[in-house]
């Protein structure tokens, strides 16, 4: 019976995947399939113009909110870091230490785990700072003799370590007294921890919302291609063949939304910073130069992954059967 089949002139070496036998042409075939499927996805993106616009705008809304969360988070982190950076332990040194003893004390302080820097502040410098803090009063004239001791300013790697570092400093030979603003430190730490946590939580939540939003948007895309999918599956397209055009379409939608969101934030952030600094000149906000690039990168990465993820989730339903 099979010898009667001139139409089925399938080459003997044809593999189950329908690819040609030669290695080079197998690669070519794979490459051309990827090209074809990618084109299918891009064509779908343009052909379903209105639907793409709807999907892009809902992803855009989500990304704008996500950008807002990121900008807020980064600013809060910068404030927290700056506040924490001001947390130091001050070790007062015994009067009349020889330079060698002082050097030994410094080395001992530096060996304490979690210590980042130990800087020596001579008593003259301490007095100068005090004068400066008091607005340029000539204290040296007033007191005749400098009452301030030599000190080490010790900065920890982690602000949370300050208490432990301060305790350890007390037992360094040559140190008579250690202060680190006990109560203030604890309150500052509690506040920065709260700020960091809330910012991160908001970012995560908004990221998740973006995925949900774009999944819904892309579900429409999948529905519009239901017939194509049905036929591809009927004739024996593998899961990846069915998925790929959607992933491309989702990626395009996510990227277009991300480009729009980036453009809007690139214009909006410098404007907002300028307005804020006009109103409150001392408000510590990050300059646009430090925000815009990372923000654009995050939005592009976010848009791309949200589009891909949304497409993958919404096409899964079709492939489940």
């Amino acid at each position: 019976m099979r010898s009667l089949a001139p139409f089925r002139e399938r080459p003997a070496a044809l593999s189950a995947a329908g690819l040609p036998p030669r290695k080079a042409s197998r690669l070519e075939a794979a490459a051309s399939s990827v090209a074809f499927l990618t084109r299918e996805g891009a064509v779908g993106f343009w052909r379903n113009g209105l639907m793409s616009a709807a999907a892009v705008s809902s992803i855009l809304a989500a990304l704008l909110a996500f950008g807002g969360a990121l900008v807020t988070l980064w600013n809060l982190q910068a404030v927290a870091a700056r506040v924490e950076g001001q947390l130091v332990a001050v070790a007062y040194l015994r009067d009349g230490l020889s330079p060698a003893q002082r050097e030994a004390a410094r080395r001992a302080a530096e060996r304490i785990p979690g210590v980042r820097t130990v800087s020596f502040v001579p008593r003259q410098e301490a007095l100068r700072r005090l004068e400066e803090a008091l607005g340029g009063v000539e204290l040296e004239q007033a007191v005749r003799e400098n009452p301030l001791p030599d000190t080490f300013e010790v900065r920890p790697d982690q602000a949370e370590d300050l208490r432990r570092v301060a305790e350890a400093l007390r037992s360094v030979p040559g140190v008579v007294e250690v202060t680190y603003g006990e109560d203030a430190t604890d309150r500052v730490l509690a506040l920065t921890r709260l700020v960091r946590g809330a910012g991160a939580a908001a970012t995560v939540v908004l990221g998740a919302v973006s995925v949900v939003v774009s999944t819904n948007a892309l579900r429409l895309t999948v529905l519009a291609r239901q017939q194509e999918v049905e036929i591809m599956r009927l004739v024996g397209a593998t899961g990846w063949f069915v998925r790929w055009p959607f992933l491309v379409e989702g990626l395009l939608q996510g990227l277009v939304a991300a480009v729009c969101a980036s453009a809007l934030w690139t214009v909006f952030y410098p404007w907002a910073v300028a307005r804020l600094q006009q109103a409150w000149p001392f408000l510590p906000v990050l300059p646009p130069s430090r925000v815009v690039l990372p923000l654009v990168a995050s939005l592009l990465a976010g848009g791309a992954s949200v589009g891909l993820l949304g497409a993958a989730v919404s096409v899964r339903r079709f492939l489940a059967r």
């Binding site: 019976m1 002139e9 995947a17 329908g18 690819l19 074809f36 049905e230 036929i231 899961g239």
Partner: protein, 233 residues
């Protein structure tokens, strides 16, 4: 070994509707088989089991070397490449030409682009639609649309063609053309399983007829007619 084999197959749909009851059937390579029976008898269900659109509730289904009833999902596409399927409603993509519809099926299984024009042309010439290759489905008659869908089903050179009421939407003359076409495809070596309500066609062609009633095979005749001949009085 028969090309298609069902053994003790039951299909119960969710909700409890029993579509097939203890169906056993084997089809040799190169056969032409009519599947007849009243609406709701389970004909479409039987075809769906063959291309693994549905799984049997019980029993074995084998198509060529594929144990369809326990096929891993990843293997399903490769089974389907052995099967062309056509339907009453053609299922052509409205925004693509006839040529593109056929090419789409080839590209969907990763056929190298260099092979595609020749394959599309061969398939369209076989069904006599090469002249209309650049027409869109809505510009075609029902019979032409069905030819296009048959060309698409054959483009991948499957061993088996499954046709679920392919003439259901066509007038008698056109139906006859389609059946002649399927017959010709069968003569070229492709095994054809076709469900139909078309008594005339079945009675003229006199091929193997399997009749289903309420999910059971009630008749299997080698040179069959649409209905069992009445007893001579």
């Amino acid at each position: 070994m028969p090309l298609i084999e069902l053994e003790g197959v039951y299909k119960v749909y969710p909700g409890g509707r029993v579509a097939l009851r203890d169906v056993s059937l084997s089809v040799e390579e190169g056969e032409f088989l009519f599947l007849v029976g009243p609406t709701g008898a389970g004909k479409s269900t039987l075809l769906r089991l063959l291309y693994r659109d549905e799984l049997p509730t019980r029993g074995r289904v084998r198509v060529a070397e594929w144990e369809v009833h326990r096929l891993r999902p990843g293997q399903v596409p490769f089974l389907r490449r052995q099967l062309g399927v056509v339907f009453q409603d053609f299922k052509l993509l409205a925004d693509r030409t006839v040529y593109e519809n056929v090419a789409f099926a080839l590209r969907a299984v990763g056929t190298p682009p260099a092979w595609i024009p020749a394959r599309v042309r061969a398939a369209l010439e076989l069904v006599g639609l090469w002249e209309r290759a650049n027409a869109f489905p809505r510009q075609l008659s029902g019979g032409e649309q069905q030819r296009a869908s048959i060309a698409r089903a054959l483009a991948n050179q499957p061993r088996i063609l499954l046709a679920d009421e392919p003439t259901g939407n066509l007038d008698p003359d056109t139906s006859w053309d389609i059946v002649k076409l399927l017959s010709r495809i069968n003569l070229r070596g492709t095994t054809v399983v076709m469900t139909t309500h078309n008594k005339t066609v079945v009675d003229i062609l006199r091929r193997r007829v399997v009749e289903l009633q309420e999910g059971q095979v009630v008749r299997d005749e080698v040179w069959g007619r649409y209905a069992k001949p009445r007893a001579v009085p």
